[in-house]
Symmetry: C2
Amino acid sequence: MARPKAFDRGAALAAATKTFATYGYEGTSTEALVKSMGIGRQSMYDTFGDKRALYLEALQHYCFESVGQIAVTLQATGSPLTAIEAALLGFAARIQDDSMCLGVGSVCEFGRRDREVTAIGKSSAASMQNIFAATIQRGKDLGEIPPEIDPKNAARFINATFIGLKVMARGGATHDELRATARMALRCLA
Amino acid sequence: MARPKAFDRGAALAAATKTFATYGYEGTSTEALVKSMGIGRQSMYDTFGDKRALYLEALQHYCFESVGQIAVTLQATGSPLTAIEAALLGFAARIQDDSMCLGVGSVCEFGRRDREVTAIGKSSAASMQNIFAATIQRGKDLGEIPPEIDPKNAARFINATFIGLKVMARGGATHDELRATARMALRCLA
DNA sequence: AGGTTTCTGGAACGAATAGTCAAATAAAGA
DNA sequence: TCTTTATTTGACTATTCGTTCCAGAAACCT
């Protein structure tokens, strides 16, 4: 039983994610995929199935990691309000390449046309709003956030703000513009 | 000099806009275009040039009309604050089909890759932020909006909220959810 | 080393793509 | 009615697409 070279599956998936995020599903050819992943075409088909399966796996993985990253940020900081601020601003600071958030990109490209894509998006958005809602509730308990705020609505609003920031970043907004926008959004919770 | 049937150019462009908004640029085939426009393929090429030119014209027209519509809403209502509310909520109420805002869609699909698409988006976003900023300044003058609000930043924030609402609507959010989100955003201006 | 297994590269396929050409059709003015 | 002209239709080209097949190269294990 030999086990030759074996490329890095995770790295290949990450590369595919970036390519999909940059050019969209329809805008990405299999040739562009194998080139960006740095593996042979046959390896891609053997490892990930086909283009669609690769996209779904990339989307799934991206959303999962994305939610996890936000959750870590939210729990790392003590104050709930500054935690949300850190999440928003931290994101704004992390922008550097011209690739889109794959989650937002999938919603924009497919809408609700594709059942599996929609399912991943729904689940991811639900998780995102849950952790935001929990943090906001924590802020209410601590008196940082006024009691008339409904955590569910506020969480959805924060999510909407995130989406807006991502699209504006994709459109070429500067870090300063994103930061200012994020700070404006935080006023709603104060 | 005869002048035969002559299809409705504006209606054809509107149909193309909707198709592009639903399926994206790469996701729309010329066959889908001519079918949705209700004209022959040759007519399309004669009238609009090629697929790209048609897309650019649709995008341009859509953005222009979009900005105009917002401007009308903002000036129709007396109070600046309720005008912005009307713009946000009015949009949320108008959602019914599953087509994306073509402007947001173009940014998500192309980023800053395409010079002409980028130019249209930039110009449209600038107009949008200008009319929002003017309305917010008016609100400050009337004392409806607190003086510490920077009109430019607030306008950008409102624009970001718009984007968030549009993407959430595309993802299947209900009218109630959109309304609640819009109301949360308005808290920032109060 | 040898053998086994994975990966790569190129060739090939059918389907779909954007765009063009020419003939057929239908409406308006003479 | 007859000509003119915009539109439609279908055939056509060339390219690109996603996918599969196959031969060769490379890496691990014994």
